[in-house]
């Protein structure tokens, strides 16, 4: 009997040790002369540039090998990056969005202070001080700036709007008017592929920020207060208004972002709310499409937010605080942001934030205009999923989808969001 108890105790102790061993964070690695760089897949064109820069770096530093890790976007955004960071061969440099995610990485100890690299190191003189401010926390620069993406604007098909006698909408009423005219012309006014919830989620997240005000939007998404308030109910009322007016495709919540965009590319829908990445996508898949964009139309007068706000997020690369190769990491990022490589990034439809981006190669007019829109925005709103906690964003997105699909009233959807988040 005693022997049995002893065996059981041994098994229990072993399990506990294994549990502790598997749960612990990885110790700091020694310099193995392999520079590991991780990111969500940026697409073939950008991958070619990154691979080329890696080859340039290895040619100049034969003792160091550069390993690129391009993960599927959703995977990287969710469990992919945390898994890599917790692993034995954690990345030395990794892609990240600014906002709540950056703060979380810093809290977890994976963010190096690289201020010195910009003042006296290899990154000196590559970025303006204004640019670096957006990548600093508590006065310390913690990211190498890469690009700034507008997360959502309203793209429109010029010919379809003209044929229907509508103008690119700059106010909410003009948007509703355009919907009426386009529907009468037999065209889907607005297409979105919201199966994965973020496309319409970001769009109406921006609508909500315009209505409740940027501060209330940020506070609520950061965990302060409830969603079920009169302000948020007013904001969600506009989603219902669009749904009731049949402005959005019936299939919105059944198809993914790609299928949603195809309706726009094929001329079946006149408008498409999505981010700046549509430019290169449309050039590839619908080269004859004549399209442009307007920022989210201004909401009616009761709205409390800045009606010229832009929803967007700056992205950059963090040097891992636990990496023994921080010097090499800074050198690599300096090489990426050299004038020659910045021009290659521009050719790959990136709008880099390096100073040299304004010289030489011309960016597509729409991309340049979007970049200017973001840079000159009086208020920048962070998207729920990259700027804030993912669970909060998902609850908000689900509520938006339910109202858009006519499955819940604004009040019920907001109450459900609070319930999901335990508020």
């Amino acid at each position: 009997m005693n022997r049995k108890i002893a065996r059981l105790a041994l098994v229990g102790a072993s399990a506990a040790v294994l549990l502790a061993a598997c749960g612990g964070s990885a110790p700091q690695a020694e310099n193995d002369h392999v520079l590991r760089i991780a990111m969500g897949s940026p697409g073939d064109a950008q991958i070619r540039v990154w691979d080329d820069v890696a080859a340039q770096y290895m040619a100049a530093h034969p003792e160091t090998k550069v390993e690129m890790n391009y993960q599927q976007d959703d995977l990287y955004q969710t469990i992919g990056l945390p898994t890599l960071l917790a692993g034995k061969n954690a990345p030395d440099v990794y892609f990240e969005w600014t906002g709540e995610r950056l703060k979380q990485r810093q809290k977890d100890g994976f963010v190096a202070d690289i201020t010195e690299q910009f003042t006296s190191g290899p990154l000196k003189g590559l970025f303006t001080d204004d640019t670096l401010k957006g990548f600093s926390v508590d006065g310390k620069t913690v990211m190498v700036p890469y690009s700034a993406d507008v997360t959502n604007v309203l793209w429109y098909n010029k010919a379809l709007l003209e044929q229907a006698g509508a103008t690119p909408p700059t106010t909410w009423d003009e948007l509703l008017d355009a919907c009426t005219k386009l529907s009468a012309a037999g065209v889907i006014p607005i297409t979105t592929g919201n199966k994965d919830l973020w496309p319409a989620g970001n769009w109406f997240g921006h609508v909500a920020s315009r209505v409740v005000g940027e501060d209330v939007y940020a506070q609520t998404l950061s965990g302060t207060g409830k969603f079920a308030t009169p302000e948020w109910e007013t904001a969600f009322g506009y989603i219902k208004q669009l749904a009731d007016a049949k402005c959005v495709n019936d299939s919105a919540n059944a198809i993914d972002d790609n299928a949603g965009a195809q309706l726009f590319f094929q001329g079946k829908a006149a408008m498409h709310p999505i981010g700046s990445w549509l430019v290169s996508w449309a050039i590839d898949e619908a080269p004859d499409l004549d399209f442009d964009y307007v920022n989210l139309p201004a909401m009616p007068s009761e709205a409390k937010g800045n009606q010229d706000s832009v929803i967007g997020v700056a992205t950059g690369y963090i040097v891992n605080a636990k990496s023994p190769k921080q010097k090499e990491a800074a050198e690599f990022m300096a090489l990426l942001n050299s004038p020659e490589n910045v021009q290659k990034l521009i050719e790959a439809e990136v709008t880099p934030l390096a100073i040299s981006a304004s010289e030489g190669q011309e960016i597509d007019g729409r991309s340049a205009s979007l970049s200017s829109l973001l840079n000159n925005a009086p208020a920048v709103v962070l998207p729920p999923d990259t700027g804030y906690d993912l669970k909060t964003a998902d609850a908000l997105y689900a509520g938006i989808a339910a109202v858009l699909g006519g499955q819940a009233t604004p009040a019920d959807a907001l109450a459900e969001i609070d319930r999901t988040l335990g508020r």
Partner: protein, 320 residues
């Protein structure tokens, strides 16, 4: 004969045991351990006792996911097992059965993700085959956003599942039908039984054991369903197709709630085990047909072991 060294058998078994321990036992133990913690997968781990289990018990999405999976299983019992049985009956009685069998079985050989992508085009409300066909035959009023309407989404996914697995069950039941002694069927025919009467009164009762296995496979397979739901609807619309596995994956891999997800995994495992055990007990206790009932097939049931035999093997001529 007693082996010379008592540890020799253990040496031979060691690789298999090590693999089993590493790939099955260890993850199970760890998952059970994680279920009592709050952990995001890489940061500090906090012991929270039974909190995750209490949260799961009061989580309406998690509870609802079991309702959805039960409805899905009920639908697939009809669309997979019953349809598979009917197809097997047709195949075993009709001519030209080879091509028919190949055609029905072909979807089973496709990866489920490929099937799901294929059917997402079929169901596409804007340019998909289903709505286009309905429009072409003048049934526009029946056109739907099949995967975007909570009233139709679960049924739409179940139909795809049936399209794939009806062929699988057809092959199982067809193989069992082939094991029925030819003499039994001949006797039935001499008594004036038609194909329908033979199917209902002779063939099906004689493969009852195989049917029970088919139903068990369908039920346990239903609880394990994931890929079809993940690709076609990802739990939507509005959670109408959320099943325990899709919710679990979102919880762990999207929200980073490893502790809570582990508790859900433990609950799911316990429920599947419980259902399996209950089913086995019911299957063991089921009333066996008696001689008084006039069921001649009672003593000559074809069991699951028949499936392991190659076609044409066994005693004498087999039914076709």
């Amino acid at each position: 004969m007693k082996p010379a060294r008592s540890f020799t058998p253990w040496l031979f078994m060691a690789p298999a045991l090590a693999m089993f321990g590493f790939a099955v036992l260890l993850p199970m133990v760890l998952t059970f351990g994680y279920s009592f913690t709050e952990w995001n997968g890489f940061g500090p781990m906090t012991f929270v006792g039974l909190d995750n289990y209490l949260a799961a018990a009061t989580d309406p999405i998690f509870r609802g996911s079991f309702v959805h999976v039960c409805l899905y299983i009920a639908a697939t019992l009809v669309l997979e097992v019953l349809v598979g049985l009917a197809l097997a009956g047709i195949v075993s009685a009709a001519r030209g059965r080879l091509w028919f069998r190949v055609a029905i079985f072909a979807p089973v050989m496709l990866p489920m993700v490929v099937v799901a992508v294929l059917w997402s085009f079929v169901y596409n409300p804007d340019f998909g085959l289903v709505n286009a066909t309905l429009g072409a035959v003048g049934l526009e009023q029946l056109q739907r956003v099949w995967l975007g309407d909570p009233a139709t989404a679960l049924a739409a996914v179940s139909v795809v599942s049936g399209w794939v697995y009806a062929g699988f069950y057809m092959m199982i039941f067809y193989a069992a039908f082939r094991q029925i002694p030819h003499e039994v069927l001949e006797a039935g025919r001499l008594d004036g039984a038609g194909e329908w009467a033979l199917f209902r009164r002779v063939k099906v009762p004689m493969i009852r054991s195989v049917l029970w296995v088919g139903v068990l496979l369908c039920i346990t397979g239903g609880f394990q369903g994931f890929d079809l739901f993940f690709v076609l609807t990802n739990g939507g619309p509005y959670g109408a197709t959320e099943i325990p596995t899709t919710y679990l994956v979102k919880t762990v891999f999207r929200n980073g709630e490893v502790g809570y997800g582990s508790a859900m995994a433990v609950v799911l495992t316990v429920i599947v085990l419980g259902v399996g055990l209950a089913y086995s007990r019911i299957a063991r206790r089921r009333p066996r047909p008696s001689a008084e009932s006039g069921d001649e097939a009672a003593d000559a049931q074809v069991g699951p072991s028949a499936l392991l035999q190659p076609e044409g093997a066994g005693a004498g001529e087999r039914a076709g």
